[in-house]
C-alpha cells in the first residue's frame, strides 16, 4: 500500500532549498530514539545479563517450543487461508459488479479498526459450543473455541485485510489487453489466468502473505480469549511472555521476546524485499 515510500523523486534537483531539514531530522531522530530505539535495545541488553546456557534453556524448554509450534503453525494456516480467500475477495472487488460492493470494500478493513479484544470475545462467543456457529459444529465433532483451531480462526480474522489490500491495487493495474492478446492467441481463460494474471500478482500475493503471517505471529488480544490457553496445547508465544511477566520472571520473558523480535526482523526484511520486487514489477510493466 505504501509502495511509493522508498521511491525517489526524479524531479528533485534542487537539494535542500527548503528550510527545516536540521530541525525536522533532529526531532524525528530524537523522538524515534527515546520512544522506540532505547526501549527496544533494553530487550537485547537485558538478555546479556543472562548466561548463554540459561538463555538457551529458557527459549528451548518444551512448553516454549510447543508455543512456537502453535504460534507459527496457526499463523501459517491463517495466512494461507487469507491468500486463497483474500485473492478471491480482491479479484471480485476489482473485476465484478454486485450490489453492496462499496460497503463490503470498506468493511474489509474492519480487522484493522476493530480492537483485538472485541474481536476475541466476539469470535469466542460465536464458536463456543452454544454459540451461533459452534452449535452447528459441535454435533459434527468439530471443536473450535478453546482449541488450536480457534487460534487459527482468530489469526485468519486478524490477517484478512493484508492480502486483499496488497493484491487489489496490483490487480487494478493489470493490463486487460494482455489477457485479450492471450485469448486471441487461443489460450483458455484458465490458461490466461495461470500464465498472465497470476505471475503479475504473485509478488503482491507473497507480500500480503508475509504481512498477514508477521502480524499473526505477534497477535495477542484476539487469540487469548478463544485459545483456552492450555500449556503445551493452545498457549501462544506472546501469552507465554505475559505469563512469565506475571511471575516476575523478567529475564525469562525477555529471552523469549528476543527470539520473537529476531523472527519479526527477518520477516520485516523479507517483506521489504518482496515490496521492492512488487514495485520493480510495476515499473517494468509501465516502461
Amino acid at each position: 500500500m505504501h509502495a511509493a515510500i522508498a521511491k525517489s523523486n526524479p524531479r528533485r534537483t534542487a537539494l535542500r532549498v527548503l528550510p527545516g531539514f536540521g530541525l525536522s531530522l533532529g526531532f524525528t531522530l530524537l523522538y524515534l530514539t527515546l520512544l522506540v530505539l532505547i526501549p527496544l535495545s533494553a530487550v537485547f541488553l537485558k538478555t546479556f545479563t543472562m548466561s548463554w546456557e540459561a538463555f538457551w534453556a529458557t527459549v528451548t524448554s518444551p512448553r516454549v517450543i510447543a508455543s512456537y509450534q502453535l504460534s507459527f503453525g496457526a499463523s501459517l494456516l491463517g495466512a494461507l487461508l487469507n491468500v486463497v480467500f483474500g485473492f478471491m475477495v480482491a479479484w471480485v472487488l476489482v473485476r465484478y459488479r454486485f450490489p453492496g460492493k462499496k460497503i463490503i470494500d470498506a468493511l474489509v478493513d474492519l480487522p484493522f479498526a476493530l480492537p483485538t479484544a472485541v474481536a476475541g470475545i466476539a469470535l469466542t462467543a460465536l464458536y463456543s459450543p452454544n454459540g451461533w456457529l459452534g452449535r452447528f459444529l459441535e454435533p459434527l465433532g468439530i471443536k473450535v473455541a478453546f482449541t488450536p483451531l480457534g487460534v487459527v480462526v482468530a489469526l485468519t480474522f486478524i490477517g484478512l485485510p493484508f492480502v486483499v489490500r496488497t493484491v487489489q491495487p496490483v490487480l487494478e493495474d493489470v493490463e486487460r489487453e494482455l489477457e485479450e492478446a492471450a485469448a486471441c492467441l487461443g489460450a483458455t481463460r484458465l490458461q490466461t489466468f495461470l500464465r498472465v494474471v497470476l505471475p503479475t500478482v504473485l509478488p503482491a500475493l507473497l507480500t500480503g502473505f508475509a504481512l498477514a503471517f508477521a502480524r499473526a505471529t505477534g497477535e495477542y488480544g484476539s487469540v487469548i480469549f478463544i485459545a483456552g490457553n492450555m500449556p503445551m496445547v493452545s498457549e501462544i508465544t506472546p501469552l507465554f511472555i505475559v505469563t512469565k511477566l506475571e511471575q516476575y520472571d523478567y529475564a525469562g520473558a525477555t529471552a523469549i521476546a528476543v527470539v520473537m523480535l529476531l523472527v519479526s526482523f527477518v520477516l520485516l526484511l523479507t517483506i521489504n524485499l518482496l515490496q521492492a520486487w512488487t514495485r520493480n514489477r510495476g515499473l517494468a510493466r509501465k516502461a
Binding site: L32, M88, L107, T116, L126
Partner: protein, 296 residues
C-alpha cells in the same frame, strides 16, 4: 459533495472489455459467492455478534453496564490516553514526513524502516520494553522509586505503550503523499518571500490535510483500541488504570458477558465510525490527489 458520490473509490472494469477476458457466468457467481461467504463468516457475523450479545438481555441491562462508574473511568482514561498520544504522534509524523519527503540524505531507507518498526513488534513486547525500563527491576526503577514517580501500572506507562504502538500511523500516510507532491509549490512560496513556517502553514498543510486526517483517524482507532501492550503495563487496577479494552477483558473473565459486550459495542461503534470516515477521505483523496496509496 456530488463529486464524492460519483467518483468511484476504485476504478471499475471498463465495460468495453469483456467476452474474452471475462470468466463464464458460473465461475463468476462461484467466486462472488465464495468471497462473500468468507467475508460473512469472518467479518460480518462477528461484528453483528458483538451488538447482539450486548443487547441480549435488553436495553436496560445494556445502559446499566455503560453507566457503571468503572466503565466511565475506563472511557475517561481511554480518551485521555488518545488525547495525549495522537497529537504527539501527529507532530512526529509531520516532522518525519517533511524530512523524508522533502530532502535527500544518506540512511533515508534505514530511517523509514526504523519508523515502521513498531508495526512489526508484537503488542506484548511493546509493553514489555517499558516494563524493562521503568519496572521495579528495570533500568530506571530504583531512581523512580526514590523520587516517588510512578510510570508503570499508572497513566504514564499506558500513554507510553500507546505512543509506541501508534507511532508509525501518521508518518506512513504522509510520506508517500508528500513525496508524490514534490517541492515545487514550497519553493515558489519561498522565492516569493514567504518564511519557512509561513510556507508550511499556507502551502504544505493545505496540500496534506486529508492525508493527515486519514493518518490521525487510524492512529486514534488504534490508540483507543490497543489491548496487548497496554495490558502489560497497566496493572489492571479497576477504576484507575483500566482502558476500555481492558475493562472488556475484566468483565468477560468475570463471566459478566452482557456487560463485557456492552462495553465492547462502544469500541465496535468506534471501529465503524473509523471505517466510514476513512472511506469518505479515500473518496476525497481520489478526487484531489490520486497518489495516496502510491499506486501511480
Amino acid at each position: 459533495m456530488t463529486a464524492v458520490a460519483t467518483v468511484p473509490a476504485r476504478a471499475e472494469p471498463a465495460p468495453a472489455i469483456g467476452g474474452a477476458t471475462l470468466e463464464p457466468a458460473l465461475v463468476r457467481v462461484l467466486l462472488i459467492g465464495g468471497a462473500l461467504a468468507f467475508l460473512t463468516l469472518f467479518l460480518f457475523v462477528p461484528l453483528v455478534a458483538v451488538f447482539a450479545e450486548a443487547l441480549k438481555k435488553g436495553w436496560s441491562v445494556y445502559l446499566d453496564a455503560l453507566s457503571e462508574p468503572d466503565a466511565w473511568s475506563a472511557i475517561r482514561l481511554t480518551l485521555l490516553t488518545a488525547a495525549i498520544a495522537v497529537p504527539l504522534n501527529l507532530v512526529f509524523g509531520v516532522a518525519a514526513a517533511w524530512t523524508i519527503a522533502k530532502f535527500e540524505f544518506r540512511g533515508k531507507s534505514l530511517l523509514l524502516t526504523l519508523i515502521d518498526l513498531p508495526f512489526s513488534v508484537s503488542p506484548v513486547i511493546s509493553g514489555l520494553i517499558y516494563v524493562l525500563l521503568f519496572g521495579a527491576q528495570g533500568w530506571f526503577g530504583p531512581w523512580l522509586r526514590e523520587h516517588d514517580v510512578q510510570i508503570l501500572f499508572a497513566v504514564p506507562g499506558i500513554v507510553l505503550a500507546t505512543l509506541f504502538v501508534t507511532f508509525p500511523f501518521v508518518a506512513r500516510e504522509l510520506i508517500p503523499l508528500m513525496q508524490s507532491q514534490g517541492n515545487e509549490e514550497e519553493e515558489a512560496a519561498l522565492v516569493l518571500g514567504a518564511s519557512g513556517w509561513k510556507t508550511f502553514w499556507h502551502v504544505t498543510l493545505p496540500n496534506i490535510k486529508w492525508g493527515l486526517l486519514y493518518g490521525v483517524i487510524l492512529c486514534n482507532a488504534r490508540a483507543m483500541g490497543e489491548f496487548g501492550a497496554v495490558s502489560v503495563v497497566s496493572g489492571h487496577i479497576r477504576g484507575e488504570t483500566n482502558t476500555i479494552p481492558l475493562q472488556v477483558e475484566i468483565l468477560y473473565n468475570e463471566y459478566n458477558f452482557a456487560a463485557a459486550f456492552a462495553v465492547a459495542s462502544l469500541l465496535a461503534l468506534l471501529a465503524l465510525v473509523t471505517l466510514a470516515l476513512k472511506s469518505l477521505i479515500e473518496w476525497r483523496l481520489h478526487d484531489g490527489a490520486p497518489h495516496l496509496n502510491g499506486d501511480e
